[in-house]
């Protein structure tokens, strides 16, 4: 248990330099021209002296660059995420955006993992059979596909031609609601983006689980367990599967990062008003405080997810705790 705690502590300590690096990169990106106000002004058409003064105050333009960085970081740590150039404080918006993103990402993660594991095991147990070839072929197409393109195809087929499901947004702004009520309306909006996201991340998990499972089934301990009389079922689903899944847990953490990072394109395709969509809107209109805040929030979410899943990994694999 002490090993586990110190492991957790080390993981949290590692998150600190990552967080600092991220804040520096984010700050540098938005200050790349030397003067963020000039950058922002590229996107603003009616420039009054008042807006200019407000912008200079917002970005602490009177200070040297490193002081600006610390002022910005300190604001961020105090929950002051800055002022959107177009629509009020960022802090008041970021929670609903995050919730909307997670409403899509978490079910997609659970579904793709839940379907991907049994499918990968199935495929590995029948290596080189017709069903295995079908699964692996589909999966390699899945990882070769831009998620948002599959989204566009889904919209063309299921929304525009068949009229079964809505093509944009997370809810209908006004009646008539899909399938009669507000909850069913939300569900109708969720189905297409969720299916697309699940299908594409499913492909990754199937390939990983299949490869790890094939590897595990070849290990000496599987041979030894079978030779000493354990049932094939027990050997496959207890020993081999646990060994195959354990390393995937950390990859779930990393892929949560890439899922979140993939959110801009997918959310834009479905006009899904989450962090990714708002990031694209803000970056396009050069609303820098929003861009900075979303970048930081996404990174924090990824770091937290990684620590959580590393903890799960350490619980599953006793060897991790000592190294």
């Amino acid at each position: 248990m002490a090993g586990l705690l110190s492991y957790l502590l080390r993981r949290i300590l590692f998150a600190i330099p990552v967080f600092i690096t991220v804040s520096i990169i984010t700050f540098l990106a938005t200050n790349a021209s030397g003067n963020p106000v000039e950058l922002v002004l590229l996107g603003i058409h009616n420039r009054t002296p008042e807006t200019l003064a407000a912008l200079n105050a917002e970005f602490h333009m009177g200070e040297p660059i490193y002081t600006r960085y610390f002022l910005w970081l300190s604001d961020f740590m105090h929950g002051n995420l800055g002022q959107s150039l177009y629509s009020g404080t960022v802090a008041s918006k970021i929670l609903p955006w995050t919730a909307t993103t997670l409403e899509l990402q978490i079910p997609a993660l659970l579904l793709s993992f839940g379907i991907g594991v049994p499918l990968g095991v199935f495929s590995a147990k029948r290596q080189y059979s017709k069903s295995d070839v079908a699964v692996t072929t589909t999966a390699i197409f899945g990882i070769s596909m831009p998620t948002f393109w599959l989204g566009i195809m889904a919209i063309i087929i299921f929304s525009l031609n068949l009229h079964w499901l809505p093509s944009f947004g997370a809810i209908s702004a006004f009646p008539p609601y899909w399938w009669g009520s507000i909850p069913s309306d939300a569900l109708a909006h969720l189905i297409l983006p969720l299916s697309v996201l699940t299908l594409v991340s499913l492909a990754t998990y199937v390939r990983l689980i299949r490869a790890n499972m094939l590897d595990a089934l070849r290990q000496d301990y599987v041979l030894g367990a079978r030779a000493s009389g354990l049932s094939d079922f027990n050997v496959t689903y207890k020993h081999a599967l646990k060994n195959a899944i354990t390393p995937v847990v950390t990859i779930v953490g990393l892929s949560f990062g890439s899922l979140l990072a993939g959110a801009p394109a997918l959310e834009t395709t479905f006009s899904w008003p989450g962090l990714g969509y708002e990031f694209v809107v803000a970056a396009t209109s050069l609303d820098l405080p929003v861009v900075q805040a979303i970048t930081m929030i996404i990174t924090i979410m990824v770091l937290v997810a990684n620590i959580g899943l590393d903890l799960v990994y350490a619980l599953l694999d006793p060897r991790v705790r000592i190294s």
């Binding site: 390699i140 831009p146 979140l260 990072a261 970056a283 979303i294 996404i298």
Partner: protein, 306 residues
């Protein structure tokens, strides 16, 4: 007294003389999906060369707007086999010109990532102490970051600030700068693994210099995992480029597949073909690199397969 018991009359294995690469190529030739991947990559390479040097139709030509052939559905006019956009742009021509752009981004960014990754990985593997630990930490940070968000951020701001003429080169640089961490881990891991092997120990005891060991033993051995990962990295870089262009964050004057998809989403209600065919091009090009990577992995690391 020594008695000669056994004379090696013939070489038992027949693989002597054929180098490691020839053996790998023989193995690769038997791998149908790997060959299919090579064929797909080759197809797009030919398309890219044709688009760059031979194609009489320039990229992003709006000619159809004036000739009355805009918004044609596919397979209706053989001058425009895959249809045209409302703006008059020919979808097939854009696929041709886009393959040059996307292969440039995919391969160029991978080349930068390999150079950086080998450098960082080699130094991190060889230097112990603070420098090694620091580089390892930096590698881990870049590995953990949701890099796509940063790539999008830099692409958007970079494209605005840097001269427009730079086109896709800016994207190549950004993707390369954020994409090296996996390669660095591989190189560092290989250095640790290979350093322990007997023949390196042997050449060390024979007094071979560090750099000789690095280039004679470690680099050739690390090459095969790097080649495999590079192929997969090209695939990933193309997908990322597609996202950047789709979101409108790259140079709008450069032809890429993502840019057509952006226009495709605008015309999604009227012209499905503007999204559909470029998407197929992306899938088969990325699939080609993925299959090639898997095939190379099987050919170069036969132990991974039974």
């Amino acid at each position: 007294m020594q008695e000669e018991v056994l004379l090696p009359k013939h070489e038992a294995g027949s693989q002597r003389g054929a180098g490691q690469w020839a053996v790998a190529w023989r193995r690769f030739k038997r791998n149908r999906s790997g060959l299919a991947g090579l064929a797909m990559v080759g197809f797009f390479a030919v398309l890219a060369i044709y688009g760059l040097f031979l194609d009489p139709v320039p990229a992003r030509s709006f000619a159809c707007l004036y000739q009355g052939c805009s918004n044609l559905p596919p397979f209706t006019n053989w001058a425009h086999p895959l249809g045209t956009e409302t703006s008059g742009i020919d979808v097939w021509q854009e696929i041709i010109h886009g393959s040059a752009g996307d292969l440039y981004v995919g391969i160029g960014a991978t080349a930068i990532a390999i150079a950086l990754g080998v450098l960082v990985g080699a130094v991190a593997g060889y230097r112990g102490g603070v420098a090694g630990a620091l580089l390892l930490g930096v590698t881990q940070i870049f590995f953990t970051l949701p890099v796509l968000i940063f790539i999008l951020l830099f692409a958007r701001i970079g494209t605005l600030l840097v001269a427009q003429g730079l086109g896709l080169t800016l994207i190549v640089a950004i993707l390369g700068l954020f994409g090296w961490s996996g390669i660095a881990f591989i190189v560092r891991g290989e250095i640790f693994r290979i350093r322990e092997l007997e023949y390196v120990q042997a050449s060390k005891s024979l007094g071979a210099s560090q750099s000789r060991i690095l280039f004679r033993h470690i680099v050739p051995n690390a090459l095969s995992p790097i080649i495999v990962v590079s192929s997969l990295l090209v695939a990933g870089n193309i997908l990322t480029e597609v996202v950047i262009s789709f979101l409108g964050f790259s140079d709008p004057s450069a032809s890429t597949w993502g840019l057509i998809l952006e226009e495709g989403l605008q015309y999604v209600r009227t012209s499905w073909w503007v999204s559909f065919f470029p998407g197929l091009a992306i899938i088969f090009c990325v699939l080609g690199f993925n299959l090639l990577g898997d095939g190379l992995s099987d050919a170069l690391n036969p132990r991974l397969r039974e």
